[in-house]
């Protein structure tokens, strides 16, 4: 009982701290925006009213949001479907890892944005390009994390399984894959954030559609409040997706919630 109480006050002070910091940031934003009188930087209240306008009153955000999310959903699913088996294989089979390793290095090192024109030349200005870019932004992090999860399997557990006569297949299914789950989820979370970023970047840079197009349109008309409100929508979406992922992780892997990524 006593322990529960301590825990609860801990959560409470966490939240009051968060809210406190938020209010502080919002206040300084508001004050500086008012004093600067720069028409390109809206105040907090203008941003919020723009947000309400876009989301609830005119509802202009929904159609572009839907379009953008097509790319996220398809690109992310493609990433997961390819990256997890790739990471598992690289973590387990030596020669696959040796073959893949230079490419993994390349994909970790290069910035993705310069690849956007290439993707567009190859795939055109449609959904396919956007999906490809989201995929490129995401898959390497899921692959690398999955591989790390497989590699960092506790050697003591493998030995324990062998002592009971487990064969390679049983070790793989009963020990290695479950051990890798927390690391895979870490990769999925990083990948999700990157997917949102990748989507907006490609829409801003070349394929004018969805939220990126909306942002360019507002910026062109100097509607700073709507620009900020759209960015706010992107942030909220990213946060919602991440907490959904965290929820899934707690359901699937309750033994090892990695709090460092919160």
């Amino acid at each position: 009982m006593a322990r529960n109480k301590v825990k609860q006050t801990g959560v409470m002070s966490d939240w009051s701290l968060r809210i406190g910091v938020f209010i502080l940031v919002a206040l300084s934003w508001q004050v500086s925006a008012v004093f600067m009188k720069n028409m390109l930087i809206p105040t907090v209240t203008e941003t919020i009213s723009g947000f309400i306008q876009l989301v609830f009153v005119s509802g202009r955000i929904w159609q572009p949001l839907y379009i953008s999310n097509q790319a996220i959903v398809l690109g992310y699913i493609l990433s997961v479907v390819i990256a997890i088996p790739l990471g598992l294989a690289a973590g387990r089979v030596r020669w696959i890892d040796k073959v893949l390793n230079p490419y993994i290095g390349v994909f970790l090192a290069i910035p993705i944005a310069p690849l956007i024109p290439i993707a567009i030349t190859a795939l055109g200005l449609g959904l396919a390009s956007r999906v490809a870019i989201v995929f490129l932004f995401t898959f390497i992090f899921i692959t690398v994390n999955t591989r790390a999860g497989v590699r960092n399997v506790d050697a003591g557990l493998v030995e324990m399984a062998r002592s009971f006569g487990a064969n390679e297949k049983q070790i793989w299914h009963r020990i290695v894959i479950p051990s890798a789950v927390p690391a895979i989820f870490a990769g999925l979370r990083i990948g999700l954030g990157r997917a949102v970023a990748g989507m907006v970047i490609v829409e801003l840079l070349l394929v004018a559609s969805g939220l990126g197009r909306l942002l360019l349109e507002f910026a062109g008309r100097l509607q700073a409040d709507f620009v900020f409100a759209t960015v706010l929508v992107v942030i909220i979406e990213a946060l919602l997706l991440l907490s959904a992922m965290r929820f899934a992780e707690q359901k699937v892997a309750p033994w090892a919630h990695d709090s460092s990524m919160e």
């Binding site: 030995e159 062998r162 002592s163 006569g165 009963r174 020990i175 479950p178 789950v181 033994w255």
Partner: protein, 261 residues
């Protein structure tokens, strides 16, 4: 009966070739059926290596290891290991961990569960079946490890410093519990330990090993009557054997330090 004849084990150097470390050098001993053999020696005497060889987990260079005249070539259903660091699956609850060995051996699910339940009760973890390892104390975790080993009903129990990571009080309680279980279900036990008290309290015989390379220095009979418990430790025989072990271990440590300098 477990027979070890002229056993040698060399760990290879970093390059995977020669100039390695001789961990065990021509070891000879036997363990009788249903005997409790404790093995003690300073660190670096190869006692854990020896246990892993008997478990069939690692190969050896020279000599023979056999159980009832059958050579050991790998892990087998006649043996089960209790590990120093418990080696529990962190994602699986107590019952699943205890049933692990049975499931690996392809026993039907209902049987696995029933046996695991019986063992959970035997080690006194009733009510904790659905807990995860991280929700248990170290002592409880090792009871899970013990239950998992006993669940496959091995004739030989190989214990690698099983209580080494536990605090003194927990360790004593688990020693008593192990003795009670062993009195009821006799098995051949090889028990590696660092603790002289533990070696004498548990063992029918204590095997004393020397370090670098590991050799058998002496095997000492422990003529203390069973069941053993708190009273045992007050007897003069207990103290004498313990003192004798300490004299030997101490001289090895001193020699070792000179050797290193």
């Amino acid at each position: 009966m477990i027979q070890v004849r002229g056993l040698s084990k060399e760990f290879l150097g970093r390059d995977g070739e020669g100039t390695g470390v001789l961990a065990i050098d021509s070891l000879d001993f036997e363990v009788r059926d249903n005997e409790f053999l404790t093995v003690i020696g300073p660190s670096g005497c190869g006692k854990t290596t020896l246990l892993r060889i008997i478990a069939g987990l690692i190969p050896f260079n020279d000599g023979e290891v056999s159980i009832d005249d059958v050579a050991v070539t790998g892990p087998g259903p006649d043996r089960a290991v209790v590990f120093q660091n418990f080696a529990l699956m962190p994602w699986a609850d107590v019952l699943t961990n205890v049933a692990f060995g049975l499931e690996i051996r392809g026993k039907p699910k209902a049987e696995c569960e029933a046996t695991a339940m019986r063992l959970v009760r035997l080690v006194g973890l009733e009510g904790f079946e659905r807990r995860l390892p991280k929700e248990l104390s170290g002592g409880m975790q090792q009871r899970v490890g013990l239950a998992r080993a006993l669940a496959v009903n091995p004739r030989i129990l190989l214990m690698d410093e099983p209580f080494g990571a536990l605090d003194e009080q927990t360790r004593r309680l688990l020693q008593e519990q192990l003795l009670r279980i062993w009195d009821r279900e006799r098995k051949t036990v090889i028990f590696i330990t660092h603790s002289m008290e533990e070696a004498v309290l548990l063992g029918d015989r204590v095997m004393l090993m020397t370090p670098r390379p590991g050799r058998v220095k002496e095997i000492i009979e422990v003529p203390l009557k069973r069941p053993r418990g708190q009273e045992t430790e007050k007897s003069t025989t207990f103290t004498e054997i313990k003192e004798y072990l300490w004299e030997n271990l101490r001289s090895m440590q001193v020699l070792d330090q000179r050797g290193e300098a």
